[in-house]
């Protein structure tokens, strides 16, 4: 019938950041658990520091930086999600001719 109503750009951006607020910790959890984590437990040194240690601290630091960005971008006041009302379709109105 009618195309979906265009979502206002602000709401769209807001939703993206809300999704990021979930995806970032979830993805970090993936990076911080085996089997991924074991890719770095290979008994090697990076600048004299065991690779797995360097890796864990790098991810941790990155996670903190992501959290800084997230806390700036996530919506401020918590207002309820707009309720979707049925769109009014002008083209479907009966022809007056």
């Amino acid at each position: 019938m009618s195309a979906p109503r265009p979502v206002p750009a602000r709401t769209e951006v807001r939703r993206r950041w809300q999704d990021a607020g979930f995806v970032i910790p979830a993805f970090a959890a993936l990076l911080l658990t085996p089997p991924f984590l074991n890719l770095f437990a290979v008994r090697r040194l990076l600048f004299g520091i065991p690779l797995e240690v360097a890796y864990l601290f790098t991810i941790w630091t990155a996670l903190v930086l992501c959290a800084v960005v997230l806390s700036r971008r996530l919506p401020r006041q918590i207002d309820p999600e707009p309720v979707d009302s049925p769109p009014i379709d002008k083209s479907a109105e009966p022809d007056k001719s």
Binding site: A28, L32, T33, P34, L45, V53, L63, A92, P94
Partner: protein, 907 residues
């Protein structure tokens, strides 16, 4: 070296400083100048009560023994806080809107204000946290002994042993907690003085650990790489000995749940939160704090391993390394850091537990002891609560001390941190269900927590006493009554797993299973349904709160009486005045709105817990079944409104559909109207041509009387021809109209199609001869029985064959007729080798008055009426057949007539 006198007096002085900080913070708050104390920074620092002495000292020990495992303890909370938008935000919102006072209160409130759930959670929290408090006492005692062990003679305090030191610490902390944690039964249980002291302690422990770390890494070695190089030289393995596995994941899960479910974490993160927006800062600042706390853990551990004599306790490296280097000042600072982390945990844990005990165990007991309310006087319940809280704090710390005293000599305390985490992790499934699963039932939560905790106690808590009891050791080795399937560390034969992983798996497995299946089987009562909606949909806009007058049996005076007992006269009065509720004799008939009762209940709940507040109001009859049913009615009306709007939506959808159909029908009508107009104008045009010639010729005949007979007879001939054509035309139109309206006589019967075709053939033969066209009739079908009107069918055949003959202008014109029986159908193709019909006419060749215009301008205009094909088409359709234009065997046009065969014999 530091003298024991000096160390102990420093510790006492430090506690004194905490008293001063807390006192002035409270004073500032009372003067309304709590701005800084309510800042996100103080909030974030206070959350770091998570880092106890177990992490301050123990992380280095863990790192020295097990490598990177200690990091998982910090990673879990980091993930939870980075994802604050999803879980913590909802948790804090729910707790603020419902006036929740503890994790027990949260679960009880969500699951229908169930008292039994609150009691269960409180008891489990007591069991799991008491050893944890003992661990802190032990850490304080050990650290004092360590930092002052070298010399002791001459000091008066040097004679104190572990036990007296721990007792001293317990008493000091009990005093602090009682002074600042139970000053009043406050709205939302916030204790800004305590929080200020905890935040100060958080800063101290962070700075102390960083100071020791910097000293070790840059003062005594040449940076991080150098520390690791030395450890390798000393023969230590600096890499993970085994790949990260299930233990890493188990600790990650436990620490994630601990940051939510530990009573002290819940208290400091959720209850002491004064502004939901502070989570925004804590979301990154707390992970950053943890990151800084653990940056130097590994270097300190490896430096200690490499340089300290073999057999030194790695748990005390943070103290012993500066001491070994002769840095007494730094060692003292480190000691104060460790002391801070232990005391902050003890203070918050005991306050959080005392709130739970007083609200969920003492108060319900007092309420059930009959109508003592009258005797209690103003704020009587509040006073009762404060008294019970003070006693609970003392009892909790006494229990912690006793636990330490009884098990202190064994190593049973060492793993208690993770054991405690695993214990409180049993609240996690119910907590998540409370926030996200409407259907979760109080029986599900009860049974899940019960069975999960029982499994935890059997598989993890009990085995921790193996070293101190032979009975338990044999139980762990052989199972109860020799049942090997029930061995605590190999339940149902699950062997070879780390005991922690084993316990976490089984306890959470049973917990979640019970929660889900019991919830699915049980039916929620009204209260639970209301509460689950409030919790799960906290971010939905309208909660359906409407003002309603209840017909509860309580008078306003009775309700005021209850409010006064808890909140005090002043606040109760303010509340009632704000809602314009009159009191006294003239207000006997005044009904109280259920909205006010709900608000009052929330106010009461923020002091005494949801379950108790509910019980209290039910007791005076303010909040009885009637009002509950009305709540349900409100909920029902909201539901109806939702359904109605759904219906509206559906209706408007249907309307739109109907409008569209109408529009389509309208368009079809327009088209038909246009066709009718076209038809009329075509008919008039067709009629007009012969009429014109008849009129003009008859005019000539009338005017010119002396025409020669030859011309006259030619004119008359023309008039005759034209009038004949007119008649044919009118016949055709009538015929077509009759066909279209289903009139006219139809003689439908079984016939042989081939016979009819042969008849048509004969008729056309003369015409063919006239045009010198060869008409061939190829494969003859022996018999083709069809149902039809033979005359009409013959008419169709003649029409099409005649068309093929008349319009064929090839040099050697040929018309082929091919008849066959195919797939139960009688098929006749009539093809010619003329020019064919150009593509533009293919779609409407069967329309009325459709005549193919010759492509070359000079050719004569065809003489046909343009009705023949249309009539043929309609006739064939009436006989359930099909007439179509196909690609034929010759280059010209090919019409195909398809008719279904019939079973009946031709008559």
């Amino acid at each position: 070296m530091l003298s024991p006198d000096f160390v102990i007096l420093t510790a006492v002085a430090y506690v004194g400083l905490l008293f001063v900080i807390a006192y002035f913070s409270d004073a500032q708050t009372r003067r309304g100048k709590a701005g800084f104390l309510r800042s996100p920074l103080v909030y974030t620092l206070s959350i770091s009560v998570y880092c106890t002495s177990w992490t301050f000292y123990g992380a280095v020990g863990t790192a020295a023994r097990d490598g990177l495992e200690f990091m998982a303890v910090y990673m879990g909370p980091t993930l939870v806080f980075v994802g604050w938008w999803f879980l913590l935000r909802k948790l804090v919102w729910v707790c603020h809107s419902q006036g929740i006072t503890s994790i027990a209160d949260l679960l009880s409130s969500r699951f229908g204000k169930s008292s039994s759930l609150a009691v269960l959670v409180t008891l489990i929290a007591m069991v799991t946290i008491t050893p944890y408090i003992a661990l802190q006492l032990k850490a304080i005692a050990t650290s004092i002994q360590t930092v002052s062990s070298a010399r002791g003679h001459g000091d008066r305090l040097a004679g104190l042993d572990d036990v007296s030191l721990a007792l001293g610490a317990a008493v000091g902390m009990a005093l602090f907690s009682i002074f600042f944690g139970t000053r009043n039964v406050d709205v939302r249980e916030q204790h800004l003085g305590v929080v200020a002291a905890i935040a100060f302690e958080a800063a101290v422990k962070l700075l102390a650990l960083i100071a020791v770390g910097l000293f070790v890494v840059f003062g005594m070695s040449g940076g991080f790489g150098d520390v690791y190089a030395r450890a390798v030289e000393a023969g230590f393995d600096i890499h993970e000995r085994e790949p990260f596995g299930s233990r890493w994941i188990a600790i990650l899960i436990l620490s994630s749940s601990a940051i939510l479910c530990l009573p002290r974490q819940f208290h400091i993160t959720v209850i002491e939160n004064s502004n939901e927006e502070h989570l925004r800062t804590a979301g990154w600042a707390f992970p950053a704090y943890l990151l800084l706390m653990s940056t130097f853990t590994l270097p300190i551990a490896y430096y200690g391993l490499a340089t300290m004599p073999a057999g030194s306790n790695p748990d005390m490296f943070v103290l012993t390394l500066p001491m070994a280097a002769g840095q007494d000042g730094l060692a003292l600072f480190a000691f104060i850091g460790g002391f801070s982390s232990a005391t902050s945990m003890i203070i918050i844990a005991s306050i959080a537990l005392s709130i739970m005990v007083s609200n969920h165990i003492v108060l319900p007991l007092a309420l059930s002891r009959g109508d003592k309310l009258v005797e209690t006087g103003e704020k009587g319940i509040a006073r009762l609560l404060l008294r019970s809280r003070r006693i609970s704090i003392a009892v909790i710390l006494l229990m912690g001390f006793l636990y330490f005293w009884l098990t202190g000599e064994s190593d049973a305390l060492a793993p208690i941190g993770l054991i405690s985490f695993a214990g409180v992790a049993q609240f996690l499934p119910a907590l998540l269900a409370a926030l996200y699963w409407r259907q979760a039932h109080v029986y599900g939560a009860l049974s899940g927590i019960l069975i999960g905790t029982a499994t935890w106690a059997w598989t993890l808590f009990l085995p921790s006493f193996t070293s101190s009891s032979l009975t338990i050791a044999s139980l762990v080795a052989h199972g109860p009554w020799g049942l090997t399937a029930l061995r605590p560390e190999a339940l149902f034969g699950m062997e070879g797993l780390d005991p922690l992983v084993h316990s976490v798996f089984w306890s959470l497995f049973f917990n979640v299973t019970a929660l889900i299946f019991v919830s699915l089987l049980a039916k929620q009562n009204i209260m639970e349904r209301v509460q689950s909606g409030v919790f799960v949909d906290i971010f939905r806009a309208d909660q359906g709160a409407q003002t309603r007058v209840i017909r509860g049996s309580a008078t306003t005076d009775e309700i005021f009486f209850v409010a006064e007992r808890v909140l005090g006269w002043h606040r109760a009065q303010t509340l009632f005045e704000a809602a314009n509720i009159p009191r006294g004799d003239h207000a006997l008939d005044v009904a109280v709105s259920s909205e006010f009762i709900a608000r009052l209940e929330r106010e009461l709940a923020s002091s005494i817990g949801a379950a108790s507040a509910h019980v209290l109001l039910t007791k005076v009859g303010a909040d009885d079944r009637i009002s509950l049913e009305e709540v349900m009615q409100i909920a029902g009306e909201t539901q109806q409104a939702i359904e109605y709007s759904h219906e509206l939506e559906e209706k408007s959808h249907k309307l739109r559909l109907t409008a569209q159909q109408l529009q389509e029908a309208n368009a079809r009508l327009h088209e038909l109207h246009r066709q009718k107009d076209d038809f009329l104008s075509q008919v008039s045009h067709e009629v007009r041509t012969p009429m014109t010639s008849i009129r003009s010729i008859s005019q000539i005949l009338l005017r010119e009387r002396d025409l020669d007979p030859d011309r006259r007879s030619r004119f008359i001939q023309t008039i005759h021809q034209e009038s004949a054509r007119l008649t044919r035309l009118l016949d055709g139109i009538l015929d077509m109209s009759a066909l279209e309206h289903g009139e006219g006589t139809w003689d439908i019967r079984p016939i042989d199609g081939e016979t009819v075709l042969a008849r048509a053939f004969i008729v056309c033969e003369a015409l063919a001869r006239q045009h010198a066209i060869a008409v061939e009739h190829h494969p003859q079908v022996p018999d083709a029985q069809i149902l039809g009107d033979p005359d009409r069918l013959c008419q169709v055949f003649i029409n099409i064959i005649a068309n093929a003959i008349a319009h064929n202008d090839a040099k050697a014109p040929v018309v082929q007729v091919l008849s066959r029986v195919e797939g139960g159908k009688y098929v006749v193709d009539i093809a010619d080798n003329g020019k064919g019909i150009s593509a533009e006419y293919h779609s409407n060749i069967f329309d009325k008055f459709m005549r193919v215009q010759p492509s070359d301008a000079g050719a004569a205009v065809p003489s046909g009426l343009g009705l023949g094909l249309n009539i043929s088409y309609t006739i064939i359709q009436k006989m359930n057949g099909r007439l179509e234009l196909v690609d034929g065997p010759l280059e010209g046009a090919c019409f195909r007539i398809t008719l279904p065969l019939s079973e009946d014999e031709p008559a």
